[in-house]
């Protein structure tokens, strides 16, 4: 335990570094995948293609992607940007499928009613489809938050600082407490961000608070469990 008390500063600092790696990747992948997911939902022909690409992307082992990516981007292997891009790609691979499901979960009756009361296609997207797809989108985002925070630690083996550095350093110097601290800190960070996203969801989607057991809530639950 001595190690922990004398290195609290280091752990705190690495947590911040870790946040700086994972939060941009999480936000980027969410912002990029929602329109792609909508495309996959809207046009049947694009669905198979887009979801297969995401499936392939998801199949690529992370370490191999971290190494291969600089060959395309020209960035240095140790550059944090390289890691953020790789994490974003993985995030996209996960959320695109969920966001296609999210838009599917909006009932056809509702879309037709919205059109009937005079919504334009764009207005309907922002005012009706996106908010109603929200709960399922949030469930996808939560999966990505947890997996991104956990995956970011792998960057440590190629020399990108993060909480994962506690694993590599602890392993090389044989300090068990250091590794356990790293695991706990990573999980705490993941759960913290997860809780934050749930709170944000409640704030932005007040209608989900009543815990109504409607189709979308059930779909959100299903996505969470399937991807778990």
């Amino acid at each position: 335990m001595n190690w922990l008390w004398s290195n609290l500063d280091l752990v705190g600092e690495l947590m911040l570094v870790h946040l700086a790696l994972s939060v941009p990747a999480i936000i980027l992948s969410f912002v990029i995948s929602v329109p792609i997911g909508w495309l996959a939902h809207r046009y049947r022909w694009s669905r198979g293609v887009l979801l297969s690409i995401c499936g392939l992307l998801y199949a690529i082992p992370s370490l191999a992607l971290f190494i291969a990516l600089p060959a395309f981007t020209g960035l240095s292997l140790r550059s944090p940007v390289n890691l953020v891009i790789a994490l974003t790609l993985y995030g996209i691979a996960v959320i695109v499928r969920t966001s296609a499901d999210a838009f599917d979960s909006v009932e056809r009756d509702i879309r037709q009613s919205a059109t009937a009361v005079g919504y334009s296609a764009t207005g309907r997207f922002w005012g009706v489809e996106l908010p109603l797809a929200g709960p399922v989108l949030l469930s996808g985002l939560r999966v990505v938050i947890v997996s991104t925070v956990s995956l970011a630690t792998v960057g440590a083996v190629i020399g990108v600082q993060s909480l994962g550095s506690l694993f590599t350093d602890g392993f090389q110097r044989g300090i068990q407490v250091e590794i356990i601290t790293g695991i706990v800190a990573t999980i705490v960070l993941a759960l913290g961000l997860d809780a934050l996203s749930v709170m944000l969801g409640r704030l932005l989607m007040p209608w989900t608070r009543r815990g109504a057991s409607n189709g979308r809530a059930a779909a959100a639950r299903r996505v969470r469990e399937e991807t778990a």
Binding site: L63, A71, D109, F167, I179
Partner: protein
């Protein structure tokens, strides 16, 4: 593109294809370790998942375990067992088994749960015994989802087995770590290309398997299910809209 030339030069070098630590040997190691881990993890997780999905009991803990273990950083688990157990294959195998259990468990209980309760009731009404219900109804119908779980577990194992080369002399990841140490980008990238190809080929095999295991009867009615159904039946004119308890 020079980097890719380096990688292809490394891949094409005959010296890398023979002797100890050669490419074929590393591929064999990678597949062997992944296979052993998959068998052990399946033996643990699939029966438990099937039991949970069949009985509906213990669902909450199963969801919590399969969801909670996700947050575990793989590198942390690997290095921790690496310190505890030391050099050798035991540490990576144990960590890989732990990390492979969540997707297998989730696939198994989701697969068994996905079977329509009415189909199971019908099977019972026809006089099937409990084991027959499991073996002849739930397993075949849930198979695509169970295989889906095995698929994601296998990909997870292959990816983590690459990382496991950090703590043990095993698998294709060795090329990546050797390359990192000697700053030989060609070797690193060559190793990565091999890992990616291996993962994609195996993923493709599973995608095919997932199609093949769909029972013929289900496949025949598939087309109707492609569009998502409304969760609430449309209101029929002349009948009151029955919200809530419909079944």
């Amino acid at each position: 593109m020079n980097l890719f030339l380096d990688a292809f030069a490394w891949l094409a070098d005959p010296a890398n294809w023979t002797g100890p630590g050669s490419i074929p040997q590393r591929i064999a190691e990678h597949l062997w370790v992944s296979g052993v881990v998959l068998v052990i993890a399946s033996a643990i997780a699939l029966p438990i998942g099937a039991l949970v999905g069949h009985s509906g009991r213990g669902r909450e803990p199963a969801v919590m375990i399969s969801g909670g273990l996700r947050a575990l950083p793989t590198l942390g688990v690997l290095t921790l067992f690496g310190i505890w157990i030391g050099i050798g294959l035991a540490a990576p195998v144990i960590s890989l088994v732990i990390l492979a259990i969540p997707p297998l468990l989730a696939g198994a209980y989701a697969g068994f749960e996905s079977v329509d309760r009415r189909t199971i009731d019908a099977a019972r009404a026809m006089g099937m015994r409990e084991l027959q219900v499991v073996g002849k109804v739930e397993l075949p119908l849930g198979m695509p989802i169970v295989v889906g779980g095995i698929r994601s577990a296998t990909l997870q194992i292959i990816a983590t087995a690459t990382l496991a080369a950090y703590i043990a002399d095993e698998g294709l990841g060795r090329f990546i770590f050797t390359g990192l140490k000697t700053r030989d980008y060609g070797e690193m990238l060559g190793g990565s290309i091999l890992v990616i190809l291996l993962a994609l080929v195996i993923d493709g095999c599973f995608a095919l398997t997932q199609r093949v295991v769909v029972p013929a009867g289900v496949r025949a009615t598939r087309t109707a299910e492609l569009r998502s159904r409304p969760t609430r039946p449309r209101t029929v004119v002349g009948r009151p809209n029955t919200e809530g308890n419909q079944e």
